[in-house]
């Protein structure tokens, strides 16, 4: 019944959209949404399931829908100001654990930019506050905000990382315990580098982390990643 609902909506939307003929299409997005619909509903009568229903996802505060079982880190991200929009959703869908390290969403992400554009275009059809998503120029900007492979390939110096990490230890405990500030031990290098660059570019919301990451060079971020990777 649910599938029927989606299809019905699709037909309606397809007619109304000026983007149906552009390079990105709602119908492609709808196909991609099948990956999501085990956990998420969208459209008329959509209800929260494993994940939140996605009507009006644009403009919604992360972790902010009542009655949904979110991860603590998703709720915290919302409290710290994360609001779903074109840019943040694009980043989340690309690699959910990049934006919210401990998200409950067990989805590895859509690595292809075109797929994300299509999916967001589809999602935006169910959001009142989604005018921005139709500005496809934003995606180009987004692309530049992703971490350059040459940055990801920098091999960090763990000794320098250990020194730099001492600054992190004022808040993040070396034991990895979380008493209100998460432990950051044993992170995969790439995840660590991506997260720190997301703070540096102010994609991830948190004023202290944006400030701390903001003054680190690419080499320094790589050094930290190299150190924390092996810290248990």
């Amino acid at each position: 019944m649910y599938c029927k609902l989606v299809l019905l909506l699709l037909v309606t939307l397809f007619h109304g959209s000026a983007y149906a003929e552009s390079a990105y299409s709602i119908s492609s997005g709808a196909k991609l949404f099948k990956k999501c619909q085990n956990c998420h509903q969208i459209g008329e009568g959509a209800k929260n399931r494993v994940g939140p229903q996605l009507n009006n996802i644009f403009g919604r505060t992360a972790g902010g829908l009542p009655g949904v079982k979110y991860s603590k880190s998703m709720v915290q991200a919302g409290e710290e100001g994360l609001v779903w929009n074109n840019e943040t959703l694009n980043s989340f869908i690309e690699n959910p654990k990049k934006l919210i390290v401990k998200t409950r969403m067990s989805f590895s992400g859509l690595r292809k930019e075109d797929d994300r554009k299509n999916l967001l275009l589809y999602l935006s059809e169910f959001s009142k506050d989604a005018t921005k998503v139709k500005d496809l120029e934003n995606f180009t900007k987004n692309k530049n905000q992703n971490v350059d492979p040459t940055i990801l390939s920098i091999v960090g110096d763990p000794e320098y990382g250990e020194y730099l990490a001492s600054e992190c230890m004022t808040c993040h405990q070396s034991s990895g315990l979380d008493d209100g500030i998460p432990g950051i031990n044993a992170w995969q290098t790439e995840d660590f580098v991506i997260a720190m660059h997301a703070y540096k570019k102010k994609q991830r919301p948190h004023p202290v982390m944006q400030m701390m990451a903001g003054r680190l060079t690419n080499e320094e971020i790589a050094a930290l990643a190299a150190y924390f990777k092996d810290l248990n």
């Binding site: 230890m169 004022t170 070396s174 500030i181 003054r215």
Partner: protein, 421 residues
């Protein structure tokens, strides 16, 4: 100056090769010796990091009179009934287990020629490098009518421990509708938002236990840290309870009488029930005895926290005069790591990395209403200079304020683990 790591690493290799040459330490002993005086946010951190990172190559002695250390940071939360005194106490057991020789004694003198520290017990401890992190002492005569012998009648509660407990007990025994007065300190002083967080937490306690009580603050300053955020919170949570008298309204013209329990502000004398006098501050006495102070504090070089007066003596935290960083536990902890790295490098030839500093001060205005201010810093030839910063905004959501408070709890757990192991 922007530090380019490649240039920096190049320099450090040269430095390391010079240092790799056999170094002769005082009286020809085998291992270099570091003595740290003061086991707070600066000293405990420095001792622990040097011992941990040198892996036994350096003898580290920490001289600290107290067996239990009660943090001054978060002590306002105890006054407000949010934390217990036990939450604030920490022992030195794990530092000792980490290889630091912990000596519970008072350092009473420094002989710079023989490079020894004398202790109250009569013994002396030799050093190659001496790190002073003694915190603050109060300037005699800073508040007319108050001296250290008045601290029982009129507590400062600006060093953690018994003074904090005394102030709490006095607030708890205030008569209904009584008056708590604070004489706030002039700049520069330990923990810039501290007096105002204290006012908030005292108000929080009184609001539920003594709702008709009044709070008067006599302030020698025209403005204070996070003022807009505090005053917003005071109006929201404690409307009409707090009267802040700035220097523009005579708040700096103050005298107290500990026998009569009166405070005179700009000529007007008020009888009060509790008087919390926080006098002007200077570096802890041992810094003065070591001859490294100039005026009230000890000028230091930003790159490694060594004193301008003596290359083998370093001063951390509140006692230092370093530039732009506020005097705070976070700052002292940050400076300690830069210092530890530099001291270890100069004694063992290990790599010395460029100085990076940071600070964040969280304050609690009301239960779950947390605010914060922070900045990053770098070393320049003149001073520790601010790079970038942020501050909480007024009108933030209750959720964000709660998240900020929870983060401060995480920070407390983090920094105390970083200090004490």
């Amino acid at each position: 100056m922007k530090i380019n790591r490649r240039i920096f690493m190049g320099n450090s290799v040269i430095a390391a090769s010079t240092l790799a040459a056999p170094t002769v330490f005082a009286d020809g002993h085998a291992k270099p010796r570091v003595v740290v005086i003061g086991g707070g946010a600066g000293g405990a951190t420095a001792a622990r990091y040097i011992a941990k990172d040198s892996k036994g190559k350096i003898d580290v002695t920490l001289v600290e009179p107290s067996r239990m250390y009660y943090t001054c940071f978060f002590s306002n939360l105890y006054l407000g009934g949010v934390k217990s005194i036990d939450d604030l106490g920490h022992s030195y057991g794990k530092i000792a287990a980490g290889g630091v020789n912990v000596v519970h004694d008072w350092a009473v003198g420094v002989d710079r020629d023989s490079k020894t520290v004398s202790l109250a017990s009569g013994s002396s401890v030799p050093y190659d490098k001496l790190i002073l992190s003694p915190g603050i002492d109060f300037i005699d005569g800073a508040v007319e009518g108050w001296n250290l012998s008045s601290q029982n009648a009129m507590p400062h509660a600006y060093k953690g421990g018994s003074q904090t407990e005394l102030l709490k007990a006095q607030i708890a025994s205030m008569p209904q509708g009584g008056t708590y007065a604070m004489v706030a300190p002039p700049n520069p002083y330990r923990c810039p938002p501290g007096p105002y967080e204290r006012v908030s937490m005292v108000a929080h306690y009184l609001k539920s236990n003594n709702p008709t009580a009044k709070i008067i603050v006599a302030d020698p300053k025209p403005k204070f840290s996070k003022q807009g955020l505090f005053q917003e919170g005071w109006a929201k949570h404690y409307d009409g309870m707090i009267e802040w008298i700035s220097s523009d309204f005579g708040g700096g013209n103050v005298s107290v009488d500990p026998n009569e329990m009166t405070v005179s502000i700009d000529g007007e004398t008020v009888k009060v029930d509790v008087c919390n006098v926080i006098p002007a501050m200077k570096a802890g006495r041992i810094a003065e005895l070591a001859g490294v102070t100039e005026g009230n504090f000890a000028p230091v070089n930003a790159s490694d926290m060594s004193t301008k007066a003596n290359a083998d003596i370093y001063v951390l935290g509140d006692a230092s005069q370093q530039g732009d960083m506020p005097k705070s536990g976070f700052s002292a902890n940050s400076q300690a790591k830069v210092c530890a790295n530099a001291v270890r490098g100069s004694l063992t030839g290990s790599k010395v990395f460029p100085a990076k500093f940071s600070n964040t001060c969280w304050s609690l205005v009301h239960e779950n209403d947390g605010i914060k201010v922070g900045a990053t810093y770098k070393a320049t030839a003149e001073k520790i200079a601010k790079v970038d910063g942020f501050i909480s905004a007024t009108n933030e959501s209750a959720e964000l304020r709660k998240a900020t408070y929870e983060e401060s709890e995480g920070w407390y757990a983090g920094i105390t683990a970083d200090m004490f192991g």
